[in-house]
């Protein structure tokens, strides 16, 4: 029986549930021109992404390569000022090798804002005409990657939305989808119980070590991943928030520990380590929820399940974001932004019933239906400096 999901087949064999043109600025100085191109194109499927820094950063280059060759992306327009250090040629070559249409505009060579804008609009027009000829093909569960993130958590998150997403994850993993949960800084306190779910003891040790790394990093920064709104919503401590966040992972065994840009090799549950390696150098690991979403997308996530108690409104460039609202009062106030009212569990609804609703919504969005944030035009994106070492051999045990 068909699940209704469909995707655009890419040269590397992956399928995208969307077919967007990504317009990418390669330094903040090219941001405005890129934004004008996106806005004046007048199309919902032209998305703005980019990296603001002028100094080189290996992580940023690798992330931009992953994002520009994400299966949901059909074509890419790169916009450079001209003097920044970003390796634009390497990025262009990578996108070209992936079989996607790609153009590179250098503002200093094109002759300034207006000429680059006009050239960019023409490039986007051609790319969209090209993409319009592509037809999607049926997509199976074992070709699907789903990420989850929580934002604006409160005392209801760990009771309603997070465990409901956990149920959805369990069912997706039964069907061989890959599911990714993350923010090791918000799993501090869960390291032992999480390690016990690893498919090998060596992976368990890696998981404990990566949470220790996160705790050390946040201690040096002087703040845990805990916002004032968390406390206003009834959460008191970081480990309390962690226990609630952890329930998003469901009850499947943990198949691997990955870092931003690593793509799960097969179905199963994966923990994404988002805390940089080495001494803290560039600031907080993730300065806001969208930084985490961008990393989940760089790991190949086709769509994101975002649980919120206080009420986040964000979406994302590239991959649709489904909002699962934990708090029934928040849902009543912000229903236009929420895809699922998981808070009704507090008013007597069954956890499995809500989990089932999320599972069905994943299929509907993968079949092309827009999520609420997507329909509202939310396409937030943020990418900042980080540094990572490659994962160790124990992090991805053979199946």
């Amino acid at each position: 029986m068909s699940n209704g999901m469909r995707g655009f087949l890419r040269k590397d064999g992956r399928k995208g549930i969307r077919n967007v043109v990504a317009v990418a600025y390669l330094v903040e100085c090219a941001h405005h021109v890129s934004r004008l191109i996106v806005q004046k194109s007048g199309a919902d499927d032209v998305h703005l992404i980019g990296f603001p820094g002028c100094y080189p950063n290996k992580y940023a280059l690798e992330m931009m390569k992953r994002l520009c060759t994400h299966p949901n992306v059909g074509a890419v327009l790169l916009v450079s000022l001209g003097c920044e250090s970003f390796n634009r040629e390497e990025l262009r070559r990578t996108v070209h090798a992936s079989g996607r249409p790609v153009d590179l505009l250098v503002i200093q060579q094109s002759g300034g804002t207006t000429r680059t804008l006009n050239a960019g609009l023409e490039a986007v027009r051609k790319m969209r005409a090209e993409l319009a000829k592509q037809t999607p093909v049926p997509m199976a569960f074992d070709e699907l990657i789903v990420g989850t993130v929580c934002g604006g958590s409160d005392g209801t998150s760990g009771i309603t939305a997070n465990p409901a997403v956990g149920r959805c994850f369990d069912w997706l993993i039964e069907k061989n989808s890959a599911c990714i949960f993350e923010e090791t800084g918000e799993l501090i306190g869960c390291e032992r119980i999480m390690a016990s779910r690893a498919i090998t003891p060596e992976l368990g040790l890696e998981i404990e070590a990566c949470v220790d790394k996160a705790a050390n990093y946040y201690r040096i920064m002087g703040y845990g991943s805990f916002a004032p709104g968390n406390a206003e919503g009834g959460l008191t401590t970081l480990e309390e928030k962690s226990m609630g966040a952890y329930s998003k992972s469901g009850s499947s065994p943990i198949s691997g520990l990955i870092k931003p840009g690593d793509i799960p090799p097969r179905g199963g549950l994966y923990l994404l380590d988002v805390v940089p390696d080495g001494e803290p150098r560039f600031g907080f690991p993730n300065i806001s929820d969208n930084a985490e979403i961008v990393e989940l997308i760089a790991c190949g996530s086709h769509l994101i399940l975002f649980t919120t108690g206080r009420g986040s409104v964000v979406g994302s460039a590239i991959s649709p974001v489904i909002k699962v609202c934990a708090n029934p009062d928040t849902y009543d106030r912000m229903a236009d932004d929420m895809d699922v009212n998981a808070g009704r569990i507090l008013r007597g609804a069954d956890l499995d019933e809500v989990g089932r609703e999320i599972f069905e919504l994943v299929q509907a969005v993968a079949a092309g239906a827009p999520s609420k944030s997507e329909a509202l035009g939310h396409q937030e994106f943020i990418l900042t400096y980080k540094q990572f070492e490659p994962i160790g051999p124990a992090c991805l045990p053979a199946a």
Binding site: G224, A231, G234, T236, G244, G309, G348, A349
Partner: protein, 105 residues
């Protein structure tokens, strides 16, 4: 969709049998009579949805259990039914922050 008469739902949730706190399922008014471990109990101060109160009297330094897992330690003793939050519970890992600054425990 399952619907249950909200009036019949207990306003306090016990998430795990080992827990020494309960979670408010909805806003609860001061003086509201609730059932706690089989006994009628009058709520001493209003408590908001998602917040915690003590299931029994807790001494200072008691580890607080939620979902059956430790979520921090009490900094002061509280009576049964009292609000358990930033003013009397601290992290065993990293202090929590408020808009006024880092929690000073």
């Amino acid at each position: 969709m399952t619907t249950v008469d909200q009036g019949k739902l207990p306003p306090l949730l016990l998430l795990h049998p080992d827990d020494n706190i309960l979670v408010a399922r909805r806003d609860i008014a001061q003086g509201e009579l609730v059932e706690m471990d089989g006994e009628r109990f009058s709520i001493p101060a209003a408590i908001e949805l998602g917040h915690k109160l003590a299931r029994r009297a807790l001494a200072a330094d008691t580890r607080v259990l939620k979902y059956g897992a430790p979520i921090g330690s009490m900094t002061t003793a509280v009576a049964r039914g009292e609000h358990v939050h930033l003013h009397n519970l601290k992290s065993d890992y990293i202090p929590s922050t408020t808009r006024e600054g880092t929690d000073g425990h």
